[in-house]
């Protein structure tokens, strides 16, 4: 991993955009990185588009707002359309190909098409497409250690939903297997 990684997670409210960002952020914390997590906030979060900027770095984070991401995680078409041109050359896009029926036309970035929603449903973990995508991102970019990701999942899943820990870990593994 390069010395800093700026990621934009984007999709509909309710897809777990903020949660996926938080799992990534906590993994960075456990790896001893500098980091920031910044959600979009406002009326657009209710059913509309939602996004979240996560920066991991070896140095102090300047602006926590990711304008030109190294990595875009897109979970719906409006988000892909909105941010596809903002990705830096040489960057990458992870998209949920079971929701986004479109190919990215840029050839200066790496695009990973993951049928995340379909995979989650088939594996009995409906609603965890976000974490499946995060698992794929972990495999391709190694932005954190496996140990830190597992610790992060355990930290981020609230105590009241402890049963979800294993489902989230399963989602990571499914993503990593893609």
């Amino acid at each position: 991993m390069s010395k800093s990684l700026n990621v934009l997670f984007a999709g509909f409210g309710g897809q777990g955009i903020l949660f996926a960002g938080k799992v990534m952020a906590y993994a960075g914390l456990f790896d001893g990185k500098e980091l920031s997590w910044l959600p979009s906030y406002g009326p657009e979060m209710r059913g509309g588009t939602c996004n979240c900027s996560v920066c991991l770095s070896d140095e102090a984070i300047g602006s926590p707002l990711v304008v030109n991401p190294d990595v875009l995680v897109a979970m719906n078409l409006p988000s892909l359309d909105k941010f596809v041109d903002a990705v830096v050359p040489g960057g990458s896009i992870f998209l949920d190909s079971s929701i986004i029926d479109k190919k990215v036309e840029r050839d200066d970035i790496s695009v990973y098409y993951v049928p995340a929603t379909k995979l989650a449903e088939e594996n009995g973990i409906k609603g965890l497409a976000n974490i499946v995508l995060l698992g794929k991102m972990l495999k391709e970019l190694e932005f954190a250690t496996g140990e830190s990701i597992e610790k992060s999942v355990r930290k981020c899943v609230p105590a009241k939903k402890a049963a979800m820990v294993d489902f989230n870990l399963k989602a990571i593994e499914i993503g990593r297997a893609q």
């Binding site: 914390l29 984070i61 300047g62 707002l65």
Partner: protein, 353 residues
């Protein structure tokens, strides 16, 4: 060392206030500040404190006045339009020499404005949080950790000088999560407040908390004394961070959220061979004019960057006093400037391009 956790600025601030001994919170919800109140509503009842959602911002600030009169460590929080509503009460606090912590998680204005981050309440915070001849202490954190660290300092200085203190945050700092080490709950007793109206127990004369002084000479004298206190604070409590300013030819001045963006731009400028540096005021009142003046000799250009149309730039110009050119770059209305935009300004001033 205590565990590092990830917390939103708003929540970390609330927890830090509790650790600093605050047990009374009066507020009213408003985006992007609501997490402060939400956090307090969960925590305060568990530790024997008071969380009260008032019927309005005006009511909340007057509850603060009451609790502070009784000698309690008390706070309120709001965002820009709500602070305007509180301004009458803040003036009364200042006029009655009462300490209290006021949080402003700024959003775009004027009017209802927007809900995205802004720094357009600088003038209000440093010039006129209400009517009359007075100042309040104003602190401007730029990270979640600093937000936490400044809370107890704001409470302590407010108590020491018997005046309101404000933490001027914004929607970005309030909403973002960063690693933070929360302070241990302070076990040092809060300062004695012999002036408080908390019962004579039959043993001392009545204390009176009041901001009404009908006799001009008496009021003038009181204001004179307050301004002596302000002079002492200006002398002793200015705070700023100077980053790469020792040899800086282009000195950027920015606080809070915009200082983070400016710092990225300064780093890139240095990589490109431009001698840029950053002065980051941490106290906005007292304004750190000593730090600005110290950077003037090496500076060829001074650039103030804000998320407003240019408010702090007035104080920068006063400190520079015409010795060097001062220019301004800002975005407003909830738009956050990018490091690239600030870098462009630095390059222009440096004659590069």
């Amino acid at each position: 060392m205590a565990e590092k956790v990830l917390m939103k600025g708003n929540e970390a601030l609330a927890e830090a206030a509790i650790a600093a001994g605050c047990r009374h919170f009066f507020g009213y919800p408003i985006t992007p500040q609501t997490e402060v109140a939400a956090y307090m509503s969960k925590r305060m009842p568990k530790i024997g404190g008071t969380y009260l959602q008032a019927e309005s911002e005006v009511a909340a600030i007057n509850m603060v006045y009451g609790a502070s009169s009784a000698g309690m460590r008390v706070m309120t929080s709001s965002s820009s339009p709500g602070i305007s509503l509180k301004s009458e009460g803040i003036s009364y606090l200042a006029g009655a020499d009462l300490p209290a912590l006021i949080i402003n998680v700024q959003r775009g204005g004027p009017g209802l404005g927007g809900i995205q981050p802004s720094q357009s309440d600088y003038w209000q915070a440093t010039r006129a949080t209400g009517h009359g001849d007075f100042h309040i202490l104003v602190f401007a954190p730029s990270t979640v950790q600093e937000m936490v660290d400044l809370v107890s300092e704001a409470f302590d200085l407010g108590d020491q000088y018997r005046m309101p203190a404000m933490i001027l945050s914004d929607g970005m700092l309030g909403q973002m999560m960063e690693p933070v080490v929360l302070p241990e709950a302070s076990d040092k007793p809060l300062p004695e407040k012999p002036w408080a109206t908390n019962g004579t127990r039959g043993g001392r004369p009545h204390n009176i908390i009041n901001s009404l002084y009908i006799t001009p000479a008496e009021l003038e004298q009181l204001v004179f004394e307050r301004f002596k206190k302000y002079d002492e604070i200006k002398e002793k409590h200015q705070k700023a961070e100077c980053y790469l300013t020792d040899d800086a030819e282009i000195v950027v001045v920015a606080y809070g959220a915009s200082s983070r963006i400016a710092r990225s731009a300064v780093n890139t400028a240095r990589e490109q061979g431009i001698k840029a540096g950053l002065i980051r005021p941490i106290t906005l009142w007292p304004f750190p004019d000593k730090a600005i003046k110290a950077a003037v000799p090496t500076a060829k250009q001074i650039l103030c960057v804000e998320m407003s149309m240019g408010q702090m730039v007035d104080d920068v110009r006063l400190a520079v006093n015409g010795a060097k050119p001062v220019s301004f770059y800002g975005r407003t209305g909830g738009v956050i400037p990018t490091p690239a935009e600030v870098l462009d300004q630095i390059k222009k001033l440096g004659g590069v391009e």
